[in-house]
Symmetry: C2
Subunit: 587 residues, 2 copies
Amino acid sequence: MYRTHTCGELTMAQVGKTVTLAGWMQRSRDLGGMTFIDLRDRYGLTQLVFNMETNAGLCTEARKFGREFVLQATGKVTERYNKNLNMPTGEIEIIVDEIKVLNVSATPPFTIEDESDGGDELRMKYRYLDLRRSTVRRNLELRHHMAQEVRKYFDALGFMEVETPVLIKSTPEGARDFVVPSRLNPGQFYALPQSPQTFKQLMMVAGFDRYFQIVKCFRDEDLRADRQPEFTQIDCEMAFVEQEDILQAFEGMLKHLFKTVRGVEFTEPFVRMTFADAINTYGNDKPDLRFGMKIHEVTNLVKGKGFSIFDNADYVGGICAEGCSEYTRKQLDELTEWVKRPQIGALGLIYIKFNIDGTLKSTVDKFYSPEEIKALADNFNAKPSDIIFLLPGKKKKTLAQLSELRLEMGARLGLRDKNTFAPLWVIDFPLFEYDEETGRYYAMHHPFTSPKIDDLQYFETDSARVRANAYDCVVNGVELGGGSIRIHDQELQQRMFKVLGFTKEQAEYQFGFLMNAFTYGAPPHGGIAFGFDRLASMFAGLDSIRDVIAFPKNNSGRDVMIDSPSHIADEQLKELNIKVEVKMEKS
Amino acid sequence: MYRTHTCGELTMAQVGKTVTLAGWMQRSRDLGGMTFIDLRDRYGLTQLVFNMETNAGLCTEARKFGREFVLQATGKVTERYNKNLNMPTGEIEIIVDEIKVLNVSATPPFTIEDESDGGDELRMKYRYLDLRRSTVRRNLELRHHMAQEVRKYFDALGFMEVETPVLIKSTPEGARDFVVPSRLNPGQFYALPQSPQTFKQLMMVAGFDRYFQIVKCFRDEDLRADRQPEFTQIDCEMAFVEQEDILQAFEGMLKHLFKTVRGVEFTEPFVRMTFADAINTYGNDKPDLRFGMKIHEVTNLVKGKGFSIFDNADYVGGICAEGCSEYTRKQLDELTEWVKRPQIGALGLIYIKFNIDGTLKSTVDKFYSPEEIKALADNFNAKPSDIIFLLPGKKKKTLAQLSELRLEMGARLGLRDKNTFAPLWVIDFPLFEYDEETGRYYAMHHPFTSPKIDDLQYFETDSARVRANAYDCVVNGVELGGGSIRIHDQELQQRMFKVLGFTKEQAEYQFGFLMNAFTYGAPPHGGIAFGFDRLASMFAGLDSIRDVIAFPKNNSGRDVMIDSPSHIADEQLKELNIKVEVKMEKS
């Protein structure tokens, strides 16, 4: 061992002891007679001291070290004159007797500090240096801690972690698969799993009744800002359970994580909200419940008073932003421009100010009597100092716009604190989604999702009305996980395929293998999967999942550090029985 | 929840209680007035009882159930008349009041029993049914348990589990990579990792000083009996350590696993043996130390007595098999045939019997005096009832033959008990291997393996003599893990490349990226990787790794259950900018 202690553990308790530390030179200060070096390792920083008077040779040598040199220092732990109580080792320093350069370092292309001077691309290229920064390292420590706690929780409940295969079979539905040519089976390909869905259901058929896995999954999508071609899921499935059992088990997991990793204790059950309520009250199916500002529909209150924009609207709804009645014209104009951006797409913004003096002032005063305006304000429980924003339009679209406006106002009002967590279950999702374009129903979750027994009566006749045993876990407006109770009854499964417009042959072709397995005594079962990267990034208080991934890829799916993907040798292609054919881009 | 209890937990303590169980019908016995059903789940079997006298309807219904039907039964826990003390629930049975068929089952293609009537291929095709067999299930439970204990051990020591990427870059050396065409980067490919070697070394450069991961790795090899294209490694690396630190840390891991998972406690340090001693004494670098029967070289004792086979031999060695002096002519002939098989390749077998009456009898009596034969026997510490087998030839080849013979005799004598574990470290591997064919040195481990400081003097002049800081962990003749201390000094690395015959350009091309990372202050570091599948299969007492893998592939790399790999759509190939070109086999 090159050290007796780490750079994070020495305190007054060790004063007088001779110790050996090893680490990187964070910085060096030269104060004439003395030289101070901050030595860094994963555990912290410790100050090394060299004295020109007592050991000129050593001090002179120490002055030659560059940033990020790897050093091994032996010396005596001594109480500092100028203590730094902001760091755990700030009360002591090491009077160095011996120093050894374990390795030199070229000058890093950016500073290894909490706030680095390196840009994104540069830091990604030298990710191994970026990872030295304690801010980045702490994210991975957190992720490690979370993974261990997830496993402890499941292990204690008798869940088994089972590794499912990575080289599987391509399926034609869903997102694009990454594929892997098989040399031993010429012309054939494996696919990388988008999720272990099939295998976890087979584990249930096999009687493993409680399965989980923290597992890499792959999706060949056009990448958006916060997507990675490979990502990690906490994948789970249980047999002989109903929806309630699943919600309990996985709410338990999140509570355990919040408590052990973040020190946040949820003593009450998570809020549960139906999909319908989430849409009508928050405008989307993953509401941020850190703040209220619910959407109120006021269609009936505003129609028929001669204001054509409202009269012609399918729906009018709004939100009440507390304490914003003093918004200036400029602020309101800016907000109006904000909702008119193409990403939101509103035509304008109507407001009612409930002034501090109790008066009401709106953009639609000429169409409504003061009593009518007051009634509107009352509908929102508005009080002096509040402002109400109204948007009209098609219901679905307007609700989506109001959702965006609500989130924006929440952010502007500081109601979306990263250290506050508002978890909930969104339940009772529709089983089917109707697609206008193709004129058919699609499974909102997947074709094995079971319907609510109470809604079976509408299954064929009013399919859109059928609710599913499907659920999402949402925290702070982010969908962290989702799942469903699966269909284990073959007759019901056939009805499902029929509504989805599958012929028997199509169903057989796409799902035959799993359906066949189900004929051998599939138990009732259901499950859930959580996005582990997202969960970790929320726990870390980050906006992106990138910094909870040790070696992430950029938006083109490239690892700029190792410069991958790359061209491969013709010999290799030949062995794999494939040929590259890159079409020229039209220019 | 479909049950109040599992099928493995009810005992006399619950007699009188009404319970609900759910599971699969293992078997049904119809004894006229009574019907007994064994209900099975992951946790065990419980006997259900139906009585024709007290509930004819229910009993008649129960008689219709087929094997593997999924049942939910409610009834009273009752003491049995005929207790079966071989099973945990054997003292009780359930007098069933209500039974529900949760799902029917087609007749399984083989019996779901510990000893199944299904052949290998059939059981692989219906792996989800094979997994219902408790023998198979227990292997995966064991694997789960081992994985959790590995993580507990490392977590407690401050190791961080870091997920390294699966989509990485193809490297031209080593075994064949599986590759993945990138749609977003036309004509370019990712590769799947053969191990996270580069990334774990980068983690050390990044200062993470204690890393581990239980991780899938991939190798596109021509598959042998016990190889899988995807396999799992316990991958580890540490910084600021020397070889001794690594051996201590990972010997600790194995001891922890043996103790917590198998109840075997090793209080003494593992045996350590140099590579040279392993070869000379056991004929190979992964000796099975469950038994002695060491190889003795007797070249000098047997030469010059006129026996030309020995006189012409480069080396003569042998083993002493205890208690085998009574071997018949037939047994000896059979053993002689065994060593002459092409897999072993000996020309014959010479033996010396030390008869129970104290006399000595050998196949070479006419060349040696009784005293010379006695001296030979004494060299092996042979005693009456033993037999000595001698083989002559080139040293390396003969040692390998003696190793095979020793293992075979160990097996025949019952000295290789699966519940006895003999772990050891093989250390001081040679750094280089000379290849006669290409006339150059290769790195025995990999080109980043560090040499012993003491042997640096021979580095260029007598390279074959240079020992490495490389080590293997061997248990019962199986190499479970191996690793090395890496080179962190750039000058030494350049010398290494030179001995290996790399030009500067070649070294740069193949290893430039890692070498560049090493210029930014790489700490001294080293690591190890264990084959997790093999470790689990040894703990499970299995000969093959297949049954500790939930969904294994066959020897052609096929998953016969999901029928993968498979052909993919032309559209998909076009998107990936590749074309399949299967050459016709010559017929």
